[in-house]
């Protein structure tokens, strides 16, 4: 499979169809892989793909990371299904143009939840919960796909697969609050959850605004809660569930639990799953005349 991807990447670079191929390479130790930017055809053999390739690469297509300043006019990117959902969502939000991107889709068997849990194979003990019930293991939107691309039914509603979300929702409100208070106590507001998110697109994040300062930048309870709740709200109907915010958290706070719960709410209210259609606008930035109104009191 990876040979076909490498050959296509080589061809794209040799023909001058793309300026760069964003993919995965071996990392600095055996458990890790790393994002890599391939500009020369002779470097394509660095590209790899396996369940350790957990990074969501569309992050680098977000304007916030200024790829356009590097002079890249057309970018090829290796995408597993969940990452392609992020690309599709970026296009739907006018953050990216479809013809600027060449998507090298890869068939995915699931991803390991943490690199340190990798033991040479993927199994129930180390598979990320986001992969359970995934309907884009054969990706939906691609320019190249190694082998045949079978038709997949993607009409099923989104499922929340992390048992922790269900556990939390069953807790009494004060206990649920106590859970977050304990976990947020570790937060020092490095904003890794923001920087790693493919969908955090604001030129100036609300938490960096100073006149006025909407969110206290210090990592006390008020500053931490207002940051995380705002972040969760800004991603409602947009989050494509890559789980990178939780993986990137250096203090192992599972911030994507908010996003998972919000996804359920959007699904229930609007039957909407982000990242599947290039045209659909997410429900909170559009309206239809037959939208529900019964919650307006």
């Amino acid at each position: 499979m990876i040979e076909q991807i490498r050959n296509q990447a080589r061809k794209l670079l040799e023909d001058g169809d793309v300026d760069v191929v964003i993919g995965y390479a071996e990392g600095s130790d055996p458990a890790r892989t790393t994002p890599v930017f391939i500009r020369k055809a002779e470097d394509v053999d660095k590209l790899i793909y396996d369940p350790r390739c957990i990074n969501s690469l569309p992050l680098y297509l977000n304007k916030r990371h200024e790829y356009t300043r590097k002079g890249w006019k057309k970018t090829a990117i290796i995408g597993k299904g969940c990452d392609i959902r992020a690309i599709v969502q970026l296009i739907a939000e006018n953050q990216l143009k479809r013809d600027e991107i060449y998507i090298l889709g890869v068939p995915c068997e699931g991803q390991v939840s943490h690199p340190e849990k990798w033991d040479g194979s993927l199994h129930d003990g180390n598979r990320a919960s986001k992969c359970i019930g995934c309907d884009v293991m054969t990706p939906h939107e691609t320019d190249f796909f190694p082998g045949d691309k079978p038709d997949v039914d993607r009409s099923n509603p989104y499922e929340v697969t992390s048992p922790k979300v269900a556990n939390l929702m069953e807790l009494e409100l004060d206990k649920r609050f106590a859970f977050w208070r304990t976990d947020f106590d570790r937060c020092f507001k490095c904003y890794a959850c923001r920087e790693v998110c493919p969908h955090c697109s604001c030129n100036v994040c609300i938490t960096d605004e100073t006149t006025p300062s909407w969110i206290d930048p210090a990592a006390h309870k008020k500053g931490v809660f207002s940051w995380h709740l705002t972040r969760a709200m800004h991603l409602v109907g947009r989050c494509t569930g890559c789980g990178e915010c939780t993986r990137a958290c250096p203090m192992d706070i599972q911030v994507d639990l908010f996003n998972q719960r919000m996804k359920e709410v959007v699904q229930e209210s609007y039957s909407y799953k982000p990242g599947y259609s290039l045209e659909d606008k997410h429900p909170l930035i559009t309206y239809q005349v037959d939208d529900r109104e019964d919650f307006i009191k």
């Binding site: 939390l168 490095c190 990592a219 250096p250």
Partner: protein, 370 residues
């Protein structure tokens, strides 16, 4: 130097004795979890205040996520309160508690970082003292614990430290492999703590067994880099624009994780948290990896690319710290390597610099920037 032995199984009792002496005790502890959290959850080890010896992980696990920095240099603290009355502003002092504290189970890399923080926050030569830091520092005693199982990200031996180093320690513990710990009293503060633990300490330590135990761990550190040529290479201003900075740094996403988990990173910001006509002036952790860290009011940003921000971080560790503060900027704990979501690895920079220092006439690669 005074030595003794202690049964490893008595560490809980040590904590109890310290708590009973009205000391605040900080120890590595596993965070409580909900049941059945699935494969996305992992054990979270942090330095936390403990109120008894029943629940601690001293000597277990490798490094708590948070390190000891936050107990000396608070994540956030008010400097003073203020209140506007008409055209006048009244400054109201804020009372700070500085409890007598013992931090137990500190690994040698974290302990070595304390001298680095001290050199920034209490520079005796420059006559500057951060009162918050120095008050806490003077009331904190460190009981350190030699490493037994470094992981693939550890590289203390590449920065002149060792998994059994007692640098920065007040009282140092090393496992002897037979259920006993070798205890070394390093400072007067350590002596005072040892006195409180007298009932549990036995006879003299076993120096030979301690040396042997320490040496056996050295071999487990496989990430070896030559840090000797780095400072000189960085001092050569021509290398400030070396192609390496762009090539290695372009994947950096500027998340700042590396700086927040780093035991020697110490940058902070100050803001007024205002509510109506009064508020607090608050000091809190900041990061040189943020794009607005060096943003001028004019809109100009001297570090206008992410790779330049990471270049600053590397320079801070291997040039600014040793040159300006005469202490070490990197203690090899590996936290930045473990935390980095894109596998940006400081030891790759170290290896690259060592290579470039040894091959000054090597070909320069093309730049893709600007």
């Amino acid at each position: 130097m005074k030595t003794a032995t202690l049964n490893k199984s008595d560490i809980g009792k040590c904590i109890d004795l310290l708590v009973q002496s009205d000391l605040r005790v900080i120890a590595p502890r596993l965070q409580p979890r909900l049941d059945d959290e699935g494969t996305d959850s992992i054990d979270v080890l942090t330095f936390t205040e403990v109120d008894s010896g029943n629940d601690h992980q001293v000597g277990e696990g490798l490094l708590p996520l948070n390190g000891v920095k936050e107990f000396l240099f608070a994540k956030h603290e008010p400097l003073f309160a203020y209140e506007k009355r008409g055209k006048k502003v009244e400054i109201i002092p804020v009372h700070h508690e500085y409890p007598q504290t013992v931090i137990i189970g500190v690994r040698p890399c974290d302990a070595a970082s304390i001298a680095s923080l001290e050199s920034v926050f209490s520079d005796a030569n420059a006559g500057f003292e951060d009162p918050f830091f120095t008050e806490r520092r003077s009331r904190t005693t460190f009981i350190t614990y030699s490493c037994t199982a470094p992981d693939a990200s550890c590289f203390c031996t590449s920065v002149d430290l060792a998994p059994d180093s007692s640098k920065g320690s007040d009282l140092h513990l090393t496992e002897l492999g037979d259920g006993r710990l070798h205890v070394e009293v390093i400072t007067e503060a350590g002596e005072a703590v040892a006195k409180k633990l007298e009932a549990l300490l036995e006879g003299e330590g076993d120096q030979a067994a301690r040396e042997k135990a320490g040496a056996s761990v050295h071999e487990k550190l496989t990430r070896l880099r030559n840090s000797a040529p780095i400072m000189d290479w960085l001092m050569d201003t021509a290398n400030f624009d070396d192609e390496m900075w762009q090539r290695l740094g372009e994947k950096c996403i500027g998340c700042g994780s590396c700086t927040f988990v780093c035991p020697t990173c110490h940058c902070f910001d100050i803001v007024d948290e205002n509510k109506g006509s009064k508020g607090y002036r608050v000091k809190f952790w900041d990061s040189c990896q943020f794009d607005h860290f060096t943003l001028h009011a004019s809109g100009h940003n001297p570090r206008d690319w992410q790779y330049k921000r990471y270049r600053n971080r590397f320079n801070c560790k291997f040039k600014i710290y040793p040159e300006k503060f005469e202490t070490q900027g990197c203690v090899g704990c590996g936290r930045c390597i473990r935390a980095c979501p894109v596998n940006l690895d400081i030891t790759e920079y170290m290896a690259e610099v060592a290579h470039k220092a040894a091959n000054p006439n090597a070909m320069k690669a093309d730049s893709d920037f600007e």
